[in-house]
């Protein structure tokens, strides 16, 4: 069986949106795919040593809430941290893997992670902010792999 390729662009840095790239990458790797994730803008948060990602209901009317809550209340200080704690507890109780665990599984499975150099410079990150073993590149680097990919997704 020839090795298939999955190319992902990860652009989001919230707790909930960090899941799709890591779930798809780890699963694809288990199915025998060669995988690359190109992390740009807020997707760079997926590469930070300590991810510490948050979830917010603001600007996200689709998020199921335990109780109805006016938007202004959702914007109060501490609400984001509280929602993040609640979401993490819920995930744990449902047997959903932590992001740290999924990222580790991706790295073990040789999923290649690329930090977008332009946005690394834009946000003034340093390589020491990121985990070891990642690469740096630009749009052309992405296309070098994505051009030959079987599945290509923008998350």
């Amino acid at each position: 069986m020839a090795e298939k390729k999955l190319a992902l662009i990860a652009t989001k840095g919230s707790l909930d949106w960090a899941y799709p790239p890591f779930i798809l990458s780890s699963t694809a790797a288990a199915l025998g795919y060669e995988v690359q994730i190109f992390c740009t803008f807020y997707g760079l948060a997926l590469l930070r040593k300590k991810m510490d990602l948050k979830v917010t209901s603001l600007g996200n009317p689709g998020m199921p809430m335990p109780m109805p809550m006016p938007v202004l209340l959702q914007a109060l200080p501490g609400m984001q941290s509280m929602m993040t704690v609640m979401m993490k507890q819920k995930m744990k109780s449902k047997g959903v893997a932590s992001l740290e665990e999924l990222r580790e599984l991706c790295l073990e499975a040789d999923v290649k992670m690329i930090a977008c150099q332009m946005t690394v410079d834009l946000f003034e990150f340093s390589p020491s902010d990121f985990i070891d073993g990642i690469e740096y590149g630009g749009a052309a680097t992405f296309f070098e792999f994505a051009g030959d990919s079987d599945v290509c997704l923008f998350v």
């Binding site: 779930i23 780890s26 699963t27 288990a30 199915l31 893997a97």
Partner: protein, 76 residues
């Protein structure tokens, strides 16, 4: 009940962990050996079918009993 060489209890784990754990366990097994997997994630039923189809391993059995799902996966 059919024979198996190794067992993996993925009870309580959710997508994609049962698949990832199964893959990891299969990596350490020899071709022809059979892995018995126990899971509670209902999504695992379709996922193990799809996994077998794409990886060349053989899903010999898939059954539900008392809210748990049992699979026999023969390494290809």
């Amino acid at each position: 009940m059919a024979d198996f060489d190794q067992e993996l209890d993925a009870s309580g784990l959710n997508c994609p962990l049962p698949i990832l754990r199964a893959k990891k366990t299969l990596n350490g097994m020899s071709s022809g050996e059979v892995l018995h997997i126990i899971a509670t994630d209902p999504g695992a039923v379709k996922d193990f079918e799809a996994f077998a189809k794409q990886t060349g391993n053989e899903l010999q059995e898939s059954r539900e009993e008392g809210g748990k799902f049992y699979f026999l996966m023969k390494k290809g």
